[in-house]
């Protein structure tokens, strides 16, 4: 019989935190307050905490307001995605990929589909490639809107004003994606060798129209926070990621680019029609919270440019290779393949080992948030707990991807 009033046994992470306190006290590093064995307090932040954007749990060791140690505990959203792949055909697995990083479903699907195509030696028609770019960039804008919106809501100088502005405009983009694929977030739109549907009538004009309006809307967001003294105080110089951290921990995406590392797979490992497109890899130099915000803002503008160019070069033709329907059964030759794809959060890699059957023998996702989260203990140590919230917001975590 479960006794619900009994104090639960501390789990491994909490035990580890307590052990580390004892060790640091034994080394004479703990703060010394009369009558207390140690001054540090172990606090569980999450898994249900509004600022962790999901079910991330941080076991935080606090000394007053200072963060002395952080132990991230993940796995609360683990849905056995890699195990599920063993019993699903390649085709059946596409909708599951949407649910890894659910904020940027199109990008994730593309990463997976691209890897299988590379493994099987399929090349989609050009119209499909261009539409894929449009979808990925639209989703990138929508994803950055969620990232920056919720981040500013965490900081709270504006309350929730910014997040509502951004979610309002994100809805325009999701409307466009819904019109194409039939779903707002769980698209199931990409197919091996093409796409499920062609663009509906009048979609291109609607998209163009939105792309004309978006830069003004992004200016509007910036005018909300850019000059706000509280916002700047909480962002500038906080949570600095150095270039050495980028190298050591494999940090990718806006977090790396904010530190001045121009690593963008659309440029450094180009795929699809990106080599033909003219866009800037947005970088900043300080690597602090503010720069990460700035990079995301700039990237939204660049994505608008990319979508406009892609709409201009949209060729006529089929969106699916061969017959009108995508192949249900696909059997790539034995071998293994890794492809990285530039997700809004960084390098979203798919590693597939094929044994020549209809099912992937082993499928592994290299999730950008998983790698970026690894830096958390180093990043948060020595900061105030309130800044820890700002820093974690600026890293932009999606737990669906981390826990898989």
């Amino acid at each position: 019989m479960l006794d619900q009033f009994a104090t639960p046994e501390p789990d491994e992470a909490v035990k580890l935190a307590l052990r580390r306190i004892e060790e640091s006290t034994a080394r004479g590093e703990g703060s010394n307050v009369e009558g207390l064995a140690f001054n540090e307090v172990v606090v569980n932040m999450g898994p249900q905490h509004p600022s962790t954007h999901g079910v991330l749990r941080l076991v935080v060791t606090l000394d007053g307001e200072l963060v002395k140690d952080v132990i991230p505990v993940i796995g609360y959203l683990h849905r056995c995605k890699e195990k599920l792949a063993e019993k699903r055909t390649y085709y059946q697995y596409i909708p599951i990929v949407d649910r890894t990083e659910y904020v940027a479903g199109m990008n994730c699907e593309w990463g997976y589909v691209m890897t299988v195509e590379k493994l099987a030696g399929i090349r989609p028609p050009r119209r499909a490639e261009v539409i894929r770019v449009i979808m990925a960039e639209l989703n990138r804008i929508a994803s950055h809107q969620v990232a920056v919106g919720t981040f500013t809501a965490d900081l709270a100088p504006l309350g929730t004003a910014m997040v509502f502005y951004m979610f309002r405009d994100r809805e325009y983009i999701l409307d466009l994606l819904e019109e194409v694929s039939g779903a707002r977030m769980m698209f199931n739109y990409f197919r091996f060798g093409g796409l499920r549907y062609d663009l509906p009538d009048g979609w291109v004009e609607k998209c163009r129209d939105l792309m004309k309006r978006l830069p003004k809307l992004i200016d509007e967001y910036e005018s909300l926070v850019q000059d706000n003294a509280i916002f700047l105080q909480r962002c500038v110089g906080k949570g600095v990621i150095t270039q050495q951290d980028v190298i050591d921990y494999g940090i990718t995406g806006p977090c790396a680019r904010a530190s001045g590392v121009a690593h963008d797979l659309r440029r450094t490992r180009p795929y699809s029609v990106y080599p033909e497109l003219d866009f800037k890899v947005c970088t900043e130099s300080h690597g602090d919270v503010f720069d990460r915000y700035q990079v995301r803002m700039d990237e939204m503008r660049e994505s608008v440019k990319i979508v406009e160019q892609a709409l201009d070069m949209l060729p006529k033709g089929p969106v699916q290779l061969g017959s009108l329907r995508a192949p249900y059964v696909i059997t790539p030759p034995p071998g293994e393949c890794y492809t990285g794809q530039e997700n809004p959060r960084g390098e979203y890699g798919t590693y597939i080992v094929s044994d020549g059957s209809r099912y992937p023998y082993r499928l592994k996702f290299r999730d950008p948030c998983f790698c970026n989260l690894q830096l958390f203990p180093k990043l948060l140590r020595g900061n105030k707990i309130a800044d820890a919230v700002a820093i974690s917001g600026s890293i932009d975590l999606v737990l669906g991807g981390i826990d898989r």
Partner: protein, 164 residues
Amino acid sequence: MGLEIGTNPMDMDAIAARLVADFAAALTDVRVQEPDTVVARCDRAALKDVARRLKAHPEIGYETLNFVAGVDRLRHLESVYHVYSWKTNTYLELHVEVPKSRAEIDTVCDVWPAADWHERESWDMVGIRYLGHPDLRRILLKDDFVGHPLRKDYVDLVENHPHA
């Protein structure tokens, strides 16, 4: 100041040849996988030494670990290391065989700090024990989980889930 990417343009065959020349004894089956990956096998005992030298290599320098994946190959297990070279803007995929009877391998945490969580995941899912890892706990599954689900012979038993 920015970290320069791809400042040392070498074509893939040159990189593969260079690796064969410099790591003759330790790396075998070196082949190029288009467009930008070199795939190689590495001996289990030599892994740590090879990792150190790969990272410190003056012309290629695989400085960043991308991910570690454990794979069950039925006869044996495999630990796959995917590393990135900033200088040449290329990747190296290192396959290391681990026997099932003694699924142990040296950690590369002290060479590439990023390996920490990836090795924990590989331990959690495939059951490869990384010797010398600072904190080899389960990462995605709960602490008292029994078994390693991505092994091909894994059987899910209800008795293993007392809280479910």
